[in-house]
Amino acid sequence: MRSAGLSAHSGPVAVAAVAVSPDTALRAPALTAARLAVSRDLTLAFRRRSQLVQPLAFFVLVTLLFPLAISPELARLRSIAAGVLWVAALLASLLALEFLFRDDAQDGTLEQYALAGQSLTWLLFAKTLAHWLLTGLPLSMMAPIAALSLGVGAAALPGILVSMVVGTVTLSLIGALASALTLGMKRSGALLALLTLPLSLPVLIYGARATELAIAGNAYLAPLELLAALAVLAVTLAPLAAAAAVRISLE
């Protein structure tokens, strides 16, 4: 996908002429830097499209396990649907974390981000946003479909979608922080889950509750607001901590 919307920049920058004094290197505005960071990761992801499907396939597979393990009876499935969807979403979001920063650390591009003269927090927030667009958002859109298979009525679908969208934002941010923390280690596999899951429990609790209320057709605003509060907290703190973690691993 040629990254759309990357128009030529304005601003008097000389072509790579020889005698150019050092101070004509104009620093790119933070917004452009973030947009480029997101567009790079999206371009990269669409180059390896098959990998995009994996978290989704895993999510559907996990939701498939429960009817087989428990019972095909829709009434029973509906009563556990919220928990199933959220546990599946939590586990699926773990999948794509391992290599969120590891590839960039190995080929030296993460180092260039740290030395770019831009706020590393802002760039890592952009990377996490791209990660969410590639995993969290698709999961949220898949959840209502999976919910139908668990006997959930169509009326509940918007509620499921909204709570999933808000919840997966926090999951991506916590995951990014855990991924950055384990960057300096050779292999982080199970440790990534051990770091991510305890911190994600509040999201699981409020998310599952919101979905449960939506499925029952009741108002689900209260837990949704708590979920949104977690997202706001995560958006402000997680990128900051992830930047510190990345700097630690680059030392």
Partner: protein
């Protein structure tokens, strides 16, 4: 640093010597208080009108549960200090805290479920306090796992310090989420710890063990701190002097 004592605390040799000197001052009072408190709790305190003799488990459950969270707070704060002011000693304190805290969290879980058994009829009850304690254990295990993953002490210190700070911020959030979750599904649990006014004969042993365990933790911390400081020390001259002491 304007406050000289804080500055002094940053220098490993000073801290090593101080820790060596202070340890007995915490260890012996701790031993006395713990033995005295447990004896009083087991023998002198009257049985509880509701739980009978079973309530005496409080004298081991309360202090271990108290230490499990106190140690985590000490770990998180010292980790934060280590990160902000780049103080190796602060990282050494955090590194020393983790195993102590984890062990007391296990003790709190076991004593908690043993105490719950006569009440709830099952060893494991999804009581918000026990669930929070279990999650706290996973936070400790995450910290220990992350720290063990690095071979370079300095990087291990800084990465695990960041996790400790993040964990500390999340502990209240997780706890109240669990309490909120618990209140959804069942009436608040019947066992209200310490809500009814405890007579002095029951309360004094509790305060004795709480103080005793805290002093015990400090003594342990001082011993482990000397070990951690030694591992992080590089200057030969200081090492030679410390080892001769």
């Amino acid at each position: 640093m304007s406050w000289t004592w804080f500055h002094k605390l940053a220098s490993p040799p000073y801290v090593y010597a101080l820790a060596a000197r202070l340890t007995p001052w915490f260890a012996w009072p701790a031993a006395l208080l713990i033995l005295g408190g447990l004896y009083a709790g087991l023998v002198l305190a009257p049985p509880d009108y509701q739980q009978g003799e079973g309530f005496r488990i409080i004298y081991v459950h309360a202090p271990t549960a108290w230490l499990s969270i106190l140690v985590y707070v000490v770990m998180g704060v010292s980790a934060g200090i280590g990160l902000i002011w780049r103080m190796k000693v602060a990282h050494a304190v955090a590194a020393s805290c983790a195993p102590i805290g984890a062990s007391f969290t296990v003790a709190a879980l076991v004593t908690g479920s043993l105490w719950g058994k006569p009440m709830w009829g099952t060893f494991w009850e999804w009581d918000p306090r026990l669930v929070s304690e279990l999650i706290l254990l996973f936070l400790y295990l995450g910290y220990l796992g992350l720290r063990a993953g690095f071979d370079d002490t300095q990087r291990a210190d800084r990465a695990s310090a960041l996790l400790a700070v993040v964990g500390l911020v999340n502990v209240p959030i997780i706890h109240y989420s669990v309490v909120w979750w618990n209140s959804l599904h069942q009436a608040p649990s019947v066992m209200q710890l310490g809500k009814p006014k405890m007579p002095a004969s029951m309360l004094t042993p509790l305060l004795m063990v709480l103080l005793g365990f805290t002093l015990f933790f400090v003594a342990l911390l001082l011993v482990r701190l000397r070990a951690e400081v030694l591992q992080r020390e590089r200057s030969a001259s200081w090492l030679r002097e410390a080892l001769r002491a």
